[in-house]
């Protein structure tokens, strides 16, 4: 019997992350709107983490040829796409009241959108190749190449003149945040990371189930094919 998806655990963690964002103090400049950053930034962090895991798992697959690495890469890329979409959406609804627009062709926003579509392409590539080994090999190559966008997204705020502010936590110099804000941020970061890990484990198990189902169907088809072809083979 395969393990169930830990629905309750994820919902509790999610609830706690949202509460952490709500109990954080009000910002002197942005007011309550700054609370949106307690979900926007951790979602962006999880997207980075997910694509980083896809990179490691892709290298792992190419080195060892073990299917388990390919499953981790696929599962993590899917989660990365979900969290990137969430990051973009949360940024848009923060941007409207603060910047006055939902979207602008700023370097950070544009590079994030490009990254989203490239990993969406990664998922499409996986669906377009029926052979498991070919799919795993080609996806692993794309999973490695696609990571080149991650530093572009992260450092775009330094490399180009952008509307988007520089990083708050993942920055080369000192973190400039008051402790109450920092604590709320770190709690949300930790909870989002745990949510990612739990979802990843559940998604990897589904990948394994998919492989099992495909193998079972292929075996049954071969057996059925033998049963049909045997009499014909006897006559010829």
């Amino acid at each position: 019997m395969t393990k169930r998806v830990p629905t309750l655990a994820i919902l509790v963690l999610l609830g706690a992350a949202l509460v952490a964002g709500l109990v954080a103090p009000e910002d002197a400049v942005q007011g309550n709107l700054a609370r949106l950053l307690n979900v926007h930034v951790p979602a962006a962090w999880v997207a980075y983490l997910a694509f980083g895991v896809t990179l490691v798992a892709s290298i792992g697959y190419l080195v060892t040829k073990r299917a388990s690495w390919d499953r981790v890469a696929a599962a993590s890329a899917e989660l990365g796409v979900v969290f990137t979409a969430l990051t973009i959406f949360l940024g848009m609804i923060w941007g409207k009241p603060i910047w006055g627009v939902y979207w602008t062709w700023d370097a950070r926003l544009t590079s994030t959108a490009v990254m989203f579509f490239v990993y969406l392409g990664y998922l499409a590539l996986r669906r377009s190749i029926p052979d498991r080994e070919t799919r795993a090999k080609r996806s692993a190559i794309l999973g490695i190449v696609a990571i080149a966008q991650l530093p572009v997204v992260h450092f775009s705020v330094y490399w180009w003149r952008t509307l988007h502010q520089p990083p708050t936590l993942l920055r080369p110099d000192e973190v400039q945040m008051d402790p109450p804000f920092l604590i709320a941020f770190l709690v949300a970061f930790s909870l989002f990371t745990i949510i990612y890990a739990v979802l990843l484990a559940a998604r990897v198990r589904i990948e394994a189930l998919e492989a099992e189902a495909d193998e079972l169907i292929a075996t049954t088809a071969v057996v059925a094919g033998d049963a049909i072809s045997t009499p014909t083979g006897g006559r010829s």
Partner: protein, 45 residues
């Protein structure tokens, strides 16, 4: 919209996105188990 309205929208979007993804995992797992079970029972019949 008020500041709290935007905050509520953002938090609701977060909950709905993660909740919907979670729901999709539960659904996919259930369908796969049913598919495996159907193939096995067909095979043994």
């Amino acid at each position: 919209m008020s500041d709290w309205g935007w905050v509520a929208l953002g938090f609701a979007a977060t909950g709905i996105t993660i909740g919907a993804y979670l729901g999709s995992l539960v659904y996919r797992r259930r369908s796969l188990l049913q598919r495996i079970e159907a193939v096995r029972s067909q095979d043994s019949a």
